[in-house]
Amino acid sequence: MSEVWIGVCNEADLVIGAGVCALLEADGKTEQVALFRETPDGPVYAISNHDPIGNANVLSRGIIGSLGSRIVVASPLYKQHFCLESGQCLEDEKASVKAWQVRIARGQVQLKTA
């Protein structure tokens, strides 16, 4: 099976040290994706923008950082931490959000959708 990568924005659109929200249209569905990059050359992370605990589309507006070895974002609503690599909530094992693999190709930020 072949991989499917969909471009969502340009690398330059990202805000270093914070998050932005992009609209991903794939398989006839649209989803809000929160994109994060800590440093100009660092990895780009992509998780769902929807906070399942606060039930609102806000995760891209959270503060990013590290807890132990994990890179996380803190929800701006009630401050739970979500792992940027796995989407898992650190405070509530039943809560998790979708996480995408990300690559940069020719200055474009692409998500793996299949």
Partner: protein
Amino acid sequence: MSADMGEQIFSEGVKQKVIVVGNGMVGHRFIEYLLAHERASEFEITTFSDEPRLAYDRVHLSAYFTGSTAADLALTTRERYREQGVNFILNDKVVAIDKVKKTVTTQSGRIEAWDKLVLATGSYPFVPPIPGNDREHCLVYRTIDDLGRIKVSGAQSKVGVVVGGGLLGLEAANALKGMGLETHVVEFAPKLMAVQLDDGGSKLLRRKIEALGVKVHTGKNTKEIVDGTTCRYKMNFADGTSLETDMILFSAGIRPQDELARKNDIALGARGGIEINDNCRTSEKDIYAIGECAVWNGQVFGLVAPGYQMAKVAVAQVTGGNDQFTGADMSTKLKLLGIDVASVGDSIARTPGARCYYYNDDFAEVYKCLVVSNDGKKLLGAVMVGDVEDYGNFQQLMLNQIDLPENPQAMILPGIEGGKPAIGVDALPDAAQICSCYAVTKGSICALVNDGKSLGDIKAQTKASTGCGGCAVLLKQVVNAELAKLGVEVNNYLCEHFKYTRRELADLIRVKKIRTFAALLAEHGSGHGCDICKPAVGSILASFWNDYVLQPDHVGLQDSNDAFLGNLQKDGTYSVVPRIAGGEITPDKLIVLGQVAKKYELYTKITGGQRVDLFGARIDQLPAIWKELVDAGFETGHAYGKAVRTVKSCVGSTWCRYGVDDSVGFAIEIEERYKGLRSPHKLKFAVSGCTRECAEAQSKDVGIIATETGWSLYVCGNGGMRPRHADLLATSLDRETLVRFVDRFLMFYCRTADRLQRTSVWLENMEGGIEYLKQVVVDDKLGLGEELEAAMANVVATYQCEWKTTIENPEQVKRFRQYINSDKTDTSLAYVIERGQRRPATREEREAGKAVELISVKEHST
């Protein structure tokens, strides 16, 4: 079991009558203990006082001269006593006791029956038998009425003398000095505080007091008080010298008030005082004596803590228990004329064979002396002047007879790294009394820690360290030690990325002039940072350097509220709060707010801070909304920031019939000055135009109230979850001085508070409390005044309206798009109409299809 026990008959329905003669601190404490007892309902309490008011705090009497009122000093109120069912008769002295009929008779002829009689008549000031001591301006220092007389006399005097260089005498000297008099202390003994201090301590105390401008005369025996030539009176001393003065305060010790016992054949001690046994009982069955009127084992206790212990014992006896009074520790720690002084145990080495260690530093003006047993193993006593931090430790070492560490002299040497042996609180037995004012033991504190209570909870519940405060340091040590035992790591590090407290980080940033989070993390931290340290550091950077908070270096540090300059609501939209300084707004501007709210269909509500809050703005609408507001002359209100929010005001003298000064004008001036100052937590101010206090300034971080003599400045009040009445910092201020004090206060708070610590909690955790804060802000004891004012001046000079800067910068505006790759808006938002405005739809309403879509809003968003 007490001997009385078997004879006590508690018949149902008939209450035992308990009469407390004297409603001073100890008498009142007896009543409190009895009311709190599980058998309280079996007793009817009646108390008599010959003063016109109920119990008040005599320990802090001198506060009466620095703005406190009789109400501030009161320990209870008439309403409270009535609610508690306590009968009280004021202004009527008990003059006779009928031991057979079990009644008392008052001066006015009132007769009351008792089953148990408690004498808590206190003491009276000793006035030496000097001819002329009854002249008009010869006064004593004991009651609130005495203070009233001192104020009246002080107002007609230029020079004042206190006779007595002991503890109370120096308190009285402080009062005279506070009234602006040329102040002298005349002491019979060759040194000050001869009972508590050794020669070295006394010498330093004298030097410090003289440096304050108080003249000290020791070894003076006053022969007579006669008419003066330059002043009202002249005191002639036995050595042939003399001193002219306009008024004289006698404060040469106390004598037990035992007149009632004496007249009614109740046994007295050899040198006066009502004799009591270990049960606090007098020679008569069912008659007890407690406090300074009592003599136990030949000793009168002139401090409040032993009186409280007696009150506890007497309550136990009255209620059928059997507590014993076994003497009391007379250690004291206090501030005299602003100088820290403490004495512990046998401070003047009276014990045979005692040996001493001394430490004296003439530069820092610190003196310490340790008195140890002949074998050097136990601490017998200590003296401290200028630095009393170790008071609690030394007191416990002495009381519990704990073995001293090797080289005990190191305990009084200055804190050279690693040099000071720790005095483990672990060594203290559970029975060790940590707080003697409220009789709180180490065991009871540890039990509460084990129940999961915090230091604040423990203070609130047990009142430990809230009396004289002498045990504050020790209490903290006990709590921390117990937490450590439970495996709770005790540190105040900000988070896992910085091994520093917020205060330490603030110092590092300020002193090393660090301007970005990245630089701070590289030099002093580890990891990537997190949602704890990033906003905290962002706030510190803003407090000191005041850069634009959304510039690339800082944007990632801000909480969502700050990052988008609005208050995030539950559905992910924001609220918009423009500044309305002082709550004053023109009709035209009010119309603009209405028009903007209408156009964007924003839910509109008036805030508690006299502003207008517009809810439901989508992130992508914020720049357009703010452009309209900025164009109409509005500025950001910083409602989203841990920053100065509003200055609430009443309408003041410009309109109000009762207004004393222009509260609105001053509120606007204050708000314009401090608007947007980033701080450890949000800051709310208020200005009232008279003491009716319609702006509720005493519940604010900074409260300003107009009085006939100028502005009063209150600080560290709070409403909300933990209401706290603000403390009076200074009175009779002009505007400029007040602004200077507020500059200093706010910057000191920004520098030293913990993360998200409101001013109220900051003050409660501050060692020395409001008195210390006064020294820093008003007296400029740390010499920081100018520096703090300059730092504030920099913040004021670099103010910018963040919304104006943002909408003028296209790169910033880009950040407010909902999607980085689309102009679409968030279609998941849904609302219902309620009372004519929209609110977020609940999940059930959404599912039932009741939500309305805001079509008009979409049209404006491009």
